[in-house]
Amino acid sequence: MSGPIDLSLIVHTRNSARTLPRLLATTSWIPERIAVDMASDDKTVALCAAAGCRVIPIAPSPSVDEVRNRYLSLATSAWSLVLDSDEFLADDAEQQVRELIGRAGAAVDAIEIPRFNYLGDHLLRAPAWYPDKQIRLFRTGTVEWQAGHHRLPVVLNGRDRLASLTPPDCLHIHHSNYRDLFEFVERQARYAVTDTYDGAFDFHAYLAKAYAELDLRYDPAADGDLSAALAILMSWDRIVRGVLHWERIGRSAPLNSAFTLPVVAEARDAGAVAALQDRLAAIENSSSWRITAPLRWLSRALAAGLRGRRSS
C-alpha cells in the first residue's frame, strides 16, 4: 500500500481499558489517533499513550455525542474516522478505507458504514440491529453530531453528499455493545436518565414508539428468544423516557390522557381496535410467552383508552 493514509481517528474513552486493546490493535495503521479521555481512572490513558495516541483529557460528560463536536477539529487529516471505545475494525480495514476514500472523489463528504452489534457472544442479526449504518468516516469538518444519545450526525453540506455502503460484503464497524442483559438494562437506564428532553411533550408519541420497538425488534427467526427480551426492553425504554420527559416538564401535562392511545386514533373503526385488543389478549394468554409484562401493561392501557373513548 502506498504512503500513509490521510486519516485521523478520534475515539472518546471513559474507563475503556477492557475494550480498547482491540480497537488500538485494529487501527494501528492510522497515522493520527486522538483519544479524548473523560477522566478515566483505569489503564485507559496508559494504553492509549503506549499505542502512540494523542490523549486529550476532558471532564466527564454523561453524553459522548454532546461533546464530540468540540474535538472533531483536533483532527489534522483530510478525513476523519470516529469510533467508540468498544468498537473495532477488521484486519482488512486499511485496504477498505483507502479504497473508499479513493473512490469518494469530490462528490462525497461522508460514508455510512454498517455495524455488527454483539450482545455477549451473540451477533444481533434482526433488521433492527443490522446493518445499523453509522456515519463515521467523513471529510474533516463536514459532519456534526447532535445533542442526546445515539442520534444520527448531520452531514453539513446535505445528505446527498453521503455515500452508503451495501452490506454484507464491505467494511464494517464491529461493536461489542453489551456483555449481557444486565449491562444492557444498566446502560439504557443511564441513557434515559441523562438524555435531553427538550422537544414538545407527547406521551402518545412515546407509546407509539414503544409499539414500534416491539414490532421492529421482535424477530425470533434472526435472534431467537433474545429478540423477545430486547424488544420488550427497548419498548419499555420508550415508556420510561416518556415518563422522564413528563417529569422534566414538571409533571405539567395530564399523564393519564396518554391512555387515549395512538393506536385508537390510527384505527379506523371499533372493529379494528377490538381485533388488536384480541391479538394482545391472545399474546398475553399464550403459554409460549413468558415475559409479557409490558404487553399486559399496554393491553390494559389500550382497554382504558377504549373505555375513555366510549364514555366520552
Partner: protein, 248 residues
C-alpha cells in the same frame, strides 16, 4: 514458529469446527508443539468468534470484504510468519497421520511443497497429484474419481499439487511472494508449484493415508475457476511439461 496452519474460510462454521478437530489430531500425531492456526474469515456474513473454535493457538483474521483465495492465504501467512506453512481448506478432514507423513516427505532433498491424498466421502480419489496433458484442460487431478483402493500409494513427484492441503517451506513461500493474487479463485496453487519448480524445488504428494475433501462447499458455481483459468493459460500456455493423459 515451527508451523503456521492457514485456513481461509467463508461461513460453514460447523464444518470448519470439524476441520479444526481433525487438524488438532494431526498436529498431535505429528508431534508439533510450536504451531499457530490462522483462520482467515474471508467475509463471512456472520463473522466467526474465537469461542466457536475451542482450539489451542488459534487466531482469527477477519476480512470484512470477501477476497480471493490467494490473497486470503497470503494475509493468513503474513499474520504468523513461520518456518513452514500448511494451507488447508475448511472442507478437509485431515486423516490423523496425514500431516506426519507430509512432514516426513519434507526430509527428502529439495522437497519444498507437499500435497495430500484426498478422497471424496465415497472413497473416490479427489486428489493425489496434478498432471498436465496437451489438451485444452491443461492441468487435471490424476486418477480423479477412481476408487482409492485401486490407486497406487507409491510416492512420486509432480509438477503441481492442490492447494486444498498444501505444505510449503516458509522461505520458499516468502521468496516467491506467496500465492499470486492475480488469481481470483483456483490455479494459484498450480502457478505457485510451477514457479517453485522453476527455481529447483521439488513438489510431491503424500499417498500414505486418505483425508476427506468435500470440495466446492463454499462456492459451487461451475464457472468459479474460469477467470483464474484464463490468467493461468495466459501465463503458462506451452510452458509446462506434458505428463500425458489418464482417463477417468
Amino acid at each position: 514458529m515451527e508451523l503456521t496452519v492457514v485456513i481461509p474460510s467463508f461461513g460453514l462454521t460447523a464444518l470448519l469446527r470439524a476441520c479444526l478437530f481433525h487438524l488438532e489430531a494431526g498436529l498431535q500425531a505429528a508431534d508439533i508443539s510450536r504451531y499457530a492456526i490462522a483462520v482467515v474469515d474471508n467475509g463471512s456474513v456472520v463473522p466467526y468468534r474465537s469461542d466457536q473454535f475451542p482450539c489451542d493457538n488459534l487466531a482469527l483474521v477477519r476480512l470484512d470484504k470477501r477476497t480471493s483465495f490467494s490473497r486470503a492465504c497470503n494475509v493468513g501467512a503474513s499474520s504468523s510468519p513461520s518456518r513452514r506453512y500448511l494451507f488447508l481448506n475448511n472442507d478437509v478432514l485431515l486423516q490423523k497421520d496425514a500431516l506426519r507423513d507430509m512432514l516426513q516427505l519434507f526430509a527428502r532433498p529439495n522437497v519444498a511443497v507437499c500435497g495430500a491424498r484426498l478422497v471424496y466421502p465415497d472413497d473416490l480419489i479427489q486428489h493425489c497429484g496434478v498432471r498436465f496433458d496437451a489438451g485444452p484442460r491443461g492441468c487435471y487431478h490424476e486418477y480423479h474419481r477412481r476408487p482409492s483402493s485401486s490407486v497406487s500409494r507409491a510416492v512420486r513427484d509432480f509438477q503441481a499439487v492442490t492447494g486444498a492441503v498444501f505444505l510449503v517451506d516458509g522461505d520458499l513461500f516468502g521468496s516467491l511472494g506467496g500465492f499470486d493474487e492475480a488469481f481470483p479463485f483456483g490455479y494459484e496453487d498450480v502457478d505457485f508449484c510451477l514457479r517453485a519448480r522453476q527455481i529447483g524445488a521439488a513438489v510431491t504428494c503424500s499417498q500414505a493415508v486418505d483425508s476427506i475433501h468435500f470440495s466446492g462447499t463454499s462456492n459451487q458455481d461451475p464457472s468459479r475457476q474460469d477467470a483464474s483459468r484464463a490468467v493461468f493459460f495466459r501465463r503458462w500456455a506451452n510452458r509446462f511439461s506434458i505428463d500425458g493423459t489418464i482417463s477417468e
